[in-house]
C-alpha cells in the first residue's frame, strides 16, 4: 500500500490527466491560438454520447435529463464569452450591450467557434404577448448528428446541452435568460431537415425592462 500513497520524490508537478508529462497544461497555451483548431468529430460524438448516458442515470423525467445537459453546457458558455471577446480585435472587444447584438454574437461568433458555421436563423417571436422570446435556429445541430431519440422520449432534444451554452453566454453578459431546445423537424421521409432545432431564448423580465428603458433614451 505504501507505494500508492504520497507522490514520488522529485516529481515537481502532480501527475494525472490534467497534468501532461511535458508540464504544459491548457493554461500554458496562448489564448490567441490558431482560430482553425479543429477536433475529431468522431471523438466528440463518442464523448457526447457518454455525457448523455451519464446524464440519463436515475432521471425522473425528460425535463430532468434536459436540465442536466443544460447544466453541463452552462459553464462552457460563461467561459466562451470571455475567450471569444478576448480574441476579437482590440477595437471591437466590447461586450454585447443590447439583446440584438448579443444574439448576433451568439449566432455568428459562438456558432462559428463551436460548429464551424453560423446558425441558420435568428427570429423574434411573432406572438405580441411574448416580446421577451427569441429563437435561434439550427437545421442540423452538430451534437445531434448521430443521435436517434427513442419513441418513448420523443420530446427530448439533446441539443439542450447547446441551449445550456447559450444560457451561459447570456448570463455572462448580464442578460439572464432561460434557453430551451425544441425539435421542429418533421420525421417524414424525404424531409430536408429532420433534425431542425429551435433554441428558444426567454429573457428575464428585468432584462426587458432595461431594454425598453434604454431604447426610449
Amino acid at each position: 500500500m505504501s507505494n500508492l500513497q504520497a507522490p514520488r520524490a522529485g516529481a515537481k508537478e502532480p501527475s494525472g490527466l490534467r497534468y501532461p508529462t511535458n508540464g504544459k497544461t491548457i493554461y500554458h497555451r496562448p489564448l490567441n491560438r490558431a482560430k482553425a483548431a479543429e477536433l475529431s468529430g468522431a471523438s466528440f460524438a463518442y464523448l457526447f454520447s457518454e455525457m448523455v448516458s451519464y446524464a440519463s442515470k436515475k432521471i425522473e423525467s425528460i425535463q430532468d435529463l434536459e436540465k442536466r445537459l443544460n447544466v453541463q453546457g452552462h459553464p462552457i458558455g460563461l467561459k466562451l464569452l470571455d475567450l471569444l471577446l478576448y480574441r476579437e480585435p482590440a477595437r471591437s472587444q466590447t461586450r454585447p450591450l443590447n439583446i440584438i447584438t448579443l444574439l448576433h454574437f451568439i449566432k455568428n461568433n459562438v456558432w462559428q467557434h463551436l460548429f464551424g458555421q453560423a446558425a441558420d436563423g435568428l427570429e423574434k417571436s411573432s406572438d405580441p404577448s411574448k416580446p421577451d422570446e427569441y429563437m435561434i435556429i439550427d437545421n442540423e445541430p452538430l451534437v445531434n448528428r448521430y443521435i436517434s431519440v427513442p419513441r418513448d422520449m420523443s420530446q427530448l432534444n439533446c441539443a439542450a446541452y447547446v441551449a445550456g451554452i447559450i444560457e451561459g453566454v447570456c448570463d455572462g453578459s448580464a442578460f439572464p435568460a432561460r434557453v430551451t431546445a425544441h425539435s421542429v423537424g418533421k420525421q417524414e421521409e424525404g424531409e430536408m431537415w429532420p433534425g431542425r432545432t429551435v433554441f428558444l431564448v426567454k429573457f428575464a423580465p428585468e432584462v426587458m425592462e432595461r431594454e425598453n428603458f434604454l431604447g426610449k433614451g
Binding site: 468522431a42 457526447f48 454520447s49 448521430y146 443521435i147 436517434s148 439533446c158 429532420p194 433534425g195
Partner: protein, 189 residues
C-alpha cells in the same frame, strides 16, 4: 472462403421466392422488375447469433415471418462458426521480421454464398457482429456497399447514446441514411 455450387431456393428460402417474382415480372412489367434489382436486403446478427436488424429494400420482395428471421439468424451464425473450422490447409506459422512467431489471422469463415437467384455477402466485424447483404447476382461492388453500410452502422448506431450494444437496432437516423444510400445505389444502375 467461398461456397459455390448447387444451392437452390429449396434449401435457402429467402430470395428464392423473390427471384421467382422477379422473373415473372420481367416478362410483364419491365419497370417494376427494375425496381427490385440491386441490393435487396440487409440482416445484422449480433455476436451471440441474435437478429438485431433486418430490412428489405424495394417492393415486391418476399418477406419471411419474424420467427423465421430469428431462426435464419441463429442458423447462419452456427453455419458460419462451422465454416471457420473447415479449412483443410494447416495455418502457416508466420514469423515476423524480428524472428518472433506471429499469430496467424483468424479464419474468416463463410464470406459469399451464391445461388441461382441471389448473392449473399457476409461481413464479420472484429467484434463478431455479422452483416449479411442480399443482392441480385449481377450486382457489382458489393464490397463497397458493405463498407458503406458498416460506416453507417459505426456512425449512426454505435455513437447513439440510446442504443445498447447487442440489442435490436431502433435508430431512425440509421434507417433514414441507409434507405437513402441503398436507393441511390440501386437507382444508379
Amino acid at each position: 472462403m467461398k461456397v459455390f455450387g448447387e444451392i437452390r431456393h429449396e434449401q435457402v428460402k429467402i430470395g428464392g421466392e423473390s427471384g421467382k417474382a422477379y422473373s415473372s415480372l420481367r416478362s410483364t412489367d419491365l419497370f417494376s422488375a427494375a425496381a427490385i434489382m440491386g441490393i435487396l436486403a440487409l440482416i445484422v446478427i449480433n455476436k451471440a447469433g441474435g437478429l438485431i436488424y433486418n430490412r428489405t429494400f424495394g417492393d415486391g420482395l418476399n418477406q419471411l415471418g419474424t420467427n423465421d428471421y430469428l431462426v435464419l439468424a441463429g442458423t447462419f451464425h452456427g453455419v458460419h462458426a462451422i465454416t471457420t473450422r473447415l479449412s483443410p490447409i494447416k495455418p502457416q506459422q508466420q514469423v515476423g521480421a524480428d524472428g518472433i512467431p506471429g499469430r496467424p489471422d483468424p479464419p474468416s469463415g463463410l464470406e459469399v454464398l451464391e445461388t441461382e437467384n441471389f448473392w449473399l455477402q457476409c461481413f464479420n466485424t472484429l467484434t463478431g457482429t455479422k452483416f449479411l447483404l442480399f443482392t441480385d447476382t449481377l450486382q457489382t461492388n458489393v464490397d463497397i456497399a458493405m463498407r458503406k453500410v458498416y460506416d453507417l452502422y459505426a456512425d449512426y448506431v454505435t455513437k447513439n447514446p440510446f442504443y445498447q450494444l447487442e440489442n435490436p437496432i431502433r435508430c431512425d437516423t440509421f434507417d433514414r441514411k441507409l434507405n437513402s444510400y441503398i436507393r441511390e445505389t440501386n437507382n444508379a444502375r
